[in-house]
């Protein structure tokens, strides 16, 4: 196995943004009080740029803008980045189910003439990424993950891979789930109605433009057995883990130590679905921004599948170089 060239594989987080009802920004995810008015979908999901778009897309776009601004990549006249080297990765499990079900309802009662003439894009969840790319001139790859409980962390993984594979210098990673009647009936539980966006960059690119590093990519582990993934992901870092963002209420395994701060975002936000991993990453940025110490761990799991992301604080490096995790070394059920 050859080592990846370090210059490309070192990936950093340089921005985070949210569009979640009542929250001002990532700081609110960890309960630190932030000045300003919380996001209000009633007033903020309006505007010319949001016309003819479904709710998931509107929420997504409203989280991309603050993330780009946070990263210092949004000027007065729009994004200040090389569009040909900028990609977008979206994660959403239920993003367009409202449109899908509305169209079949309409068609059952009336003819197809009654379906919106501009509704076609939303038959596919890929529309969200397309609108983000079009809204900000991102001409690199546009990727959409609909991958269940781990989808948000998976989206971050693919964002990181696009940089490591030299397909992009900057990747906008957005996780979004809309709440509506269809989602409510389908999931039968309280769910997030919102979006989060993370800006990933190659460390070189961020350094060259003087972008502020908010967290450093360490590794993403994936496997079938959650305990095993948790053990492998934390590995030798275990004593240094300061923050653990869980996907659901979990009992802390002994190897994580008693000083770790454990936060289940679903407690406050409801089930986050495909947005979870990205919201977690935004919380990590808030943690490090506030001077929080240690390594940050974010996990998501469901029956037979688990993922764990480790991020290092901004000032932390050669000591913990970026690691290649081979799929064949990913944890399996034993």
């Amino acid at each position: 196995m050859s080592d990846e060239p370090m210059a490309r594989t070192a990936v950093v987080v340089t921005g985070a943004g949210l569009a979640i009802r009542g929250l001002t920004g990532p700081g609110d995810l960890l309960g630190s009080s932030v000045d300003g008015t919380g996001f209000d979908p009633e007033t903020e999901l309006r505007g010319r740029d949001l016309r003819h778009k479904d709710r998931a897309t509107r929420l997504a776009l409203r989280s991309v803008e603050p993330a780009l601004r946070d990263a210092g990549l949004l000027g007065a006249g729009g994004p200040v980045l090389d569009g040909t080297r900028s990609a977008v990765v979206v994660s959403s499990n239920t993003g367009n189910y409202d449109s899908v079900c509305a169209y079949v309802d309409i068609a059952a009662r009336q003819t197809s003439r009654a379906v919106s003439a501009v509704g076609l894009p939303h038959t596919s969840t890929s529309a969200i990424a397309g609108w983000i790319a079009a809204g900000h001139g991102l001409h690199g790859p546009a990727v959409t993950l609909c991958n269940g409980a781990t989808s948000g962390l998976d989206a971050l993984h693919w964002g990181r891979n696009l940089i490591a594979a030299d397909r992009a210098d900057t990747v906008v990673v957005t996780g979004v789930e809309p709440d509506n009647d269809v989602v409510h009936k389908l999931l039968g539980t309280r769910t997030l109605d919102g979006a989060a966006t993370i800006v990933l960059e190659s460390a070189t690119h961020a350094a060259d433009r003087g972008g502020r590093v908010r967290a450093r990519w360490h590794g993403l582990h994936r496997g079938r057995d959650h305990d095993e993934v948790l053990r492998t992901a934390s590995g030798s870092l275990a004593p240094d883990i300061g923050l653990w963002l869980t996907g659901a209420r979990e009992t802390r395994p002994a190897h994580l130590g008693t000083s770790v701060r454990q936060v289940d975002l679903a407690d406050a936000l409801g089930e986050c679905g495909g947005a979870l991993g990205v919201v977690q990453c935004a919380a990590v940025v808030a943690h490090f921004d506030a001077g929080g110490g240690g390594v940050a761990l974010a996990t998501a799991s469901a029956a037979g599948v688990s993922a764990a992301l480790t991020l290092l604080p901004p000032g932390h490096h050669p000591h913990f170089p970026g690691r290649v995790v081979r799929a064949s070394q990913m944890t399996r059920a034993t």
């Binding site: 379906v115 890929s126 990424a129 001409h139 496997g223 799929a327």
Partner: protein, 373 residues
């Protein structure tokens, strides 16, 4: 950098495996029929390229998942691999995922467990797959998955990856297409003056992709360019398509003159056909240009799987020495007048290097180059 394709699988409206499907296309047989999956009384359009495997009880959920499993099993068998994907990632490209299952539930049908709305659970049950990803990347999805799989191998994350695509026809998409298309298409007629729009097809495709030179190979993947127009939500942009093609050539270190076959996206919509034909005319302006064909008049627009379907058809054309025709092409549109479209019958030809186009809603573009092994 290059990668080997070591096994392939296809399930389509004209055949349950790769060879049967390829032979049908070469013989000019298509899978076109009146829509059976739902009542079309409220629609203008009445046709599709379906796989009619619903049984007597009407439509049932999870058909796209079933074809996916079949295509993956074929590809593994073809590659001489066991049905054990514990250490092999599976990347699935799709446009509509299992949205048909959501529709059926919403309209009073059986509830499908939420964890079956992506393909991970089914792949885990059938093949013990530890790592799988469902990419909803519109009609470029399976070629996107191919490019991302190649990246995984490049980055040392895997030596073998299964890449697949699958879609069943969703009524919501049929309704929205019926509303949006100006004319009423009764068949896909790519690049023909009589083209009236896009007609959906059903099916799945799969390929085993491996690090180069690790064993038997059916064909060699040379590059996959991935990009986005960042422009219109549904119409293709000439500039974006041109950039995607140039990127694929540049990544593989080839020039347009090296390409001997182009598998066109060819959806049969005026916007796609005119834009794609104009860009191909410009890119391949020098010399006679490569042979070109399009498969959607045979199997319909198979959406997320269509890009990989085209690529596998190129691989089969290389191996069997014949390129299937653009079925139903009678009089090409002006923009395609200078293109060497294969017409009327399959064309015997030694193909060494092929280009495969796939363009999706949202301006999502993927262009791959594949070489004879």
């Amino acid at each position: 950098m290059s990668w080997d394709i070591t096994g392939i699988g296809i399930v389509s409206s004209v055949g349950g495996d790769a060879r049967t499907t390829y032979d049908a296309l070469c013989a000019g047989r298509d899978g076109l029929a009146p829509v059976r999956v739902f009542d079309t009384a409220n629609y203008r359009a009445r046709h599709a390229y379906e796989i009619d495997d619903r049984g007597p009880g009407g439509d049932r959920p999870l058909r796209a998942t079933g074809w996916l499993l079949s295509a993956v099993a074929q590809a593994l068998a073809d590659a001489g691999l066991e049905e054990d994907l514990a250490e092999v990632p599976v990347l699935v490209g799709t446009t509509l995922r299992e949205q048909r299952s959501v529709e059926l539930w919403w309209r009073g049908g059986p509830r499908v467990p939420v964890d079956r709305l992506d393909f991970g659970t089914a792949l885990r049950e059938r093949f013990a797959a530890t790592t799988s990803y469902t990419f909803a990347n519109a009609c470029a999805a399976s070629l996107y998955a191919l490019g991302l799989a190649a990246d995984m191998i490049d980055l040392g994350q895997a030596d073998t990856v299964v890449v697949a695509g699958t879609d069943s026809i969703a009524e919501s998409t049929f309704a929205a297409m019926d509303r949006a298309q100006t004319l009423v298409p009764d068949a896909v007629r790519p690049f023909d003056r009589g083209h009236r729009g896009m007609v959906m097809g059903e099916g799945a495709v799969a390929a085993v992709l491996r690090r180069a030179d690790t064993g038997r190979s059916l064909a060699r993947l040379r590059s996959v360019g991935l990009s986005c127009d960042a422009a219109h939500p549904t119409a293709p942009a000439a500039g974006g398509i041109t950039a995607a093609v140039r990127e694929a050539h540049q990544l593989a270190g080839v020039t347009p003159g090296d390409i001997e076959l182009v598998m066109l996206h060819g959806t049969g919509t005026a916007r796609n056909d005119e834009t794609e034909a104009a860009v191909m005319s410009e890119v391949f302006a020098e010399g006679p240009g490569p042979l070109m064909t399009a498969v959607k008049s045979g199997v319909g627009h198979t959406l997320g799987g269509s890009g990989l379907f085209s690529l596998l058809t190129a691989v089969l054309s290389m191996r069997h020495g014949a390129v299937p025709p653009v079925i139903g092409l009678r009089e090409p549109i002006d923009e395609a007048a200078g293109l060497r479209l294969v017409r009327d019958a399959s064309r015997p030809a030694p193909i060494g290097l092929a280009q495969v186009n796939a363009f999706g809603f949202g301006g999502i573009n993927a262009v791959a180059l594949v070489e004879k092994a």
